[in-house]
């Protein structure tokens, strides 16, 4: 295979000037590509019995963010009180659905940070589980570093190393 290629090149060399390689037309540009709008929330949801006032009024329940150290996903004791309150809320409102969004600071690769954010999200879920919260009410996802401050330095980056608790009805 290489040999025949070589021959072609040698022959081409010998026949210098005799043959011209015609370049194919470059492929047609800009086929219709998708233009996406950001998706928006949908229709109405029955929120009776979800105790939304309680969710918004209670000091422990209004605390929604759990912060972590660099490259870590251990939930610190400082956050256990509000995690316990959220677990109690889920138990008392079986119709409530929680989403935990994990995040990471911008340092490192996007994919590893996505996994790290997920690990943080799962760590919060498991802490909720220890207080009796049921998996069926919780979804864990990660945004990785995608919404992180891309220019942070020092302690400022710590704000991005967190998991946020959100409820679907809100």
């Amino acid at each position: 295979m290489k040999k025949s290629l070589l021959l072609t090149v040698v022959v081409a060399t010998l026949m210098a000037g005799c043959s011209t390689t015609e370049l194919a037309d470059s492929q047609p540009l800009n086929p219709p590509f998708p233009e996406l709008a950001s998706s928006s929330a949908d229709g109405s949801v029955d929120t009776s019995g979800l105790g939304l006032d309680e969710l918004r009024g209670d000091a422990k329940l209004s605390n929604r963010s759990v912060y972590f150290d660099f490259n870590q996903y251990v939930v610190k004791d400082d956050f256990m009180d509000s995690i316990e309150a959220h677990a109690a809320y889920l138990k008392n409102h079986p119709g409530a659905k929680m989403v935990i969004n994990g995040n990471a600071d911008y340092r490192g690769s996007h994919e590893f940070n996505l996994s790290l954010g997920q690990k943080r999200s799962v760590a919060v879920k498991e802490a909720l589980n220890t207080y009796g919260a049921d998996d069926s009410q919780i979804e864990t996802v990660s945004f990785g570093e995608e919404y992180a401050n891309q220019e942070c330095t020092g302690a400022k980056c710590g704000e991005d190393r967190r998991a946020d608790i959100a409820y679907e009805v809100e």
Binding site: V9, L23, S26, Q27, T140, G144
Partner: protein, 428 residues
């Protein structure tokens, strides 16, 4: 440092030297002293159009970018030759040129014809003579073709100057654009626009599709997009995160990462979305899969020993082997086309640097100095690496670094955040 470069290059270059032509083989054992000195003479033009005069500049910057050539300044050369006849070799020898490229451009209204020759200054003879023709607007493509020929002839390895790359442009935190362009950042076109992040684009080895991760469903999901038609297919939208697509060498399958309600684990899915199976399961994070060219192994990042390190999964016996040991934080693996070099991101003294590990000797070479380099990916011939870096510590940009570490070249593709680059395959 130099010794490292030498031995690393020695191992990697030995392979293509042995596959070279019957004529003399140029040995490149690394280091600036071993670069090939080449002068690309301005091509003589027979037209009034001026932009085609840049053909020789295209060739020059291609060869320069590879790090294997020392391109000599030809600005002072008066009355450059337009063909390989009656060359004054003494004059070129005085410039310390080992090789010269000469040529001319004939132009009609809608067509240019570029005739060119590569000459050996020491032996005073013609090495290659060819002709390329096309539309005037294709002058860069013609320059890349010529550079590919020169590259293959003098290094014994295929040139990648005709290949394409893809990257993500992030505009004002609320617009994300997936672009493709020539490997040197020219001829940019957009293939996808979104209000939500796009990460991890990966070109299929057959060149037809790009897989990427989009957050458009308020969480990461994986799409495949055909380049010829722009048509998108949702490949993976399972519960939790769907990310890190990696094509198998035959383009028929992808390794992907799913979480469901737990941690990132690696799965293999058919590219038509058919069969799916889990291939890694542990308490640790397992992500960033990358296929070995033999299709039998998957390299990946795991934090099972604490910080992230790179491991290899043998798909035949499920055996997992740790690959990186230098430093506490190594991730983002990918392989050279011959499977001999592992490319990855290493945290070293607090800085994120692009590094390669020779998988035969396990010797590690750092190619960049950081501080925030990311997303390194090999050119299809393994001689260059495309990566992203933070310009003045702030705006993310992309550039290439030669695998011998000698040449870093930024790509001018916009003032916005440019990130998540990937490199397309050699075509035709």
């Amino acid at each position: 440092m130099n010794k490292k470069i030498t031995s690393l290059l020695f191992l990697s270059l030995l392979i293509f030297c042995s596959a070279s032509y019957s004529l003399e083989v140029i040995e490149i054992l690394g280091g600036r002293a071993n670069q090939i000195a080449i002068a690309v003479s301005p091509f003589k033009e027979f037209s009034s159009q001026t932009d085609t005069s840049k053909v020789h500049r295209v060739i020059e910057s291609d060869l320069d970018r590879s790090g294997l050539f020392n391109t000599l300044d030809t600005d002072g050369v008066s009355n450059p030759p337009s063909n390989d006849l009656n060359i004054n070799f003494t004059r070129w020898s005085a410039l310390d040129a080992q090789f010269i490229v000469v040529g001319k451009i004939d132009q009609t209204v809608d067509r240019i014809r570029v005739s060119w020759s590569l000459l050996d200054v020491y032996k005073e003879k013609t090495v290659l003579s060819m002709e390329y023709a096309g539309k005037p607007s294709q002058f860069r493509a013609i320059g890349h073709k010529i550079a590919d020929q020169v590259y293959e002839r003098l290094t014994g390895s295929k040139g990648v100057f005709h290949t394409k790359i893809a990257f993500v442009k992030k505009i004002n935190d609320d617009k994300y654009v997936l672009n493709i362009s020539d490997y040197d950042g020219f001829n940019v076109r957009t293939i996808m626009n979104s209000g939500q992040p796009i990460i991890s684009p990966r070109w299929s080895p057959d060149g037809k599709q790009i897989a990427y991760v989009s957050f458009e469903k308020k969480k990461p999901v994986i799409y495949l997009q055909e380049l010829a038609t722009g048509q998108r297919t949702l490949l993976a939208n399972f519960k939790g995160n769907n990310s890190a697509p990696a094509w198998s060498p035959d383009s028929k399958k992808l390794a992907i990462v799913l979480t469901y309600n737990a941690n990132s684990q690696i799965y293999i899915i058919d590219s038509d979305g058919g069969d799916i199976k889990q291939v890694m399961r542990s308490r640790a994070i397992n992500t960033e899969p990358a296929w070995a060219p033999n299709g039998k192994e998957i390299y990946f990042t795991s934090n099972k020993s604490g910080g992230p390190q790179i491991y290899k999964l043998n798909l035949e016996d499920d055996e997992v082997t740790r690959i990186t040991y230098e430093g506490k934080y190594n991730l983002y693996p990918s392989l050279s086309y011959d499977g001999k070099l592992l490319l990855f991101l290493m945290q070293d003294g607090g800085k994120f640097k692009v590094a390669v590990q020779n998988l035969l000797s396990n010797q590690v070479l750092k190619l960049t100095n950081g501080p925030y380099d990311e997303a390194p990916i090999f050119s299809p011939n393994g001689h260059m690496i495309l990566f992203s870096y933070k310009d003045y510590g702030k705006t993310s940009k992309i550039g290439t670094v030669s695998v011998n570490g000698l040449k870093i070249t930024p790509l001018a593709v916009g003032n916005e955040q440019i990130q998540e680059p990937t490199w397309g395959p050699i075509t035709n």
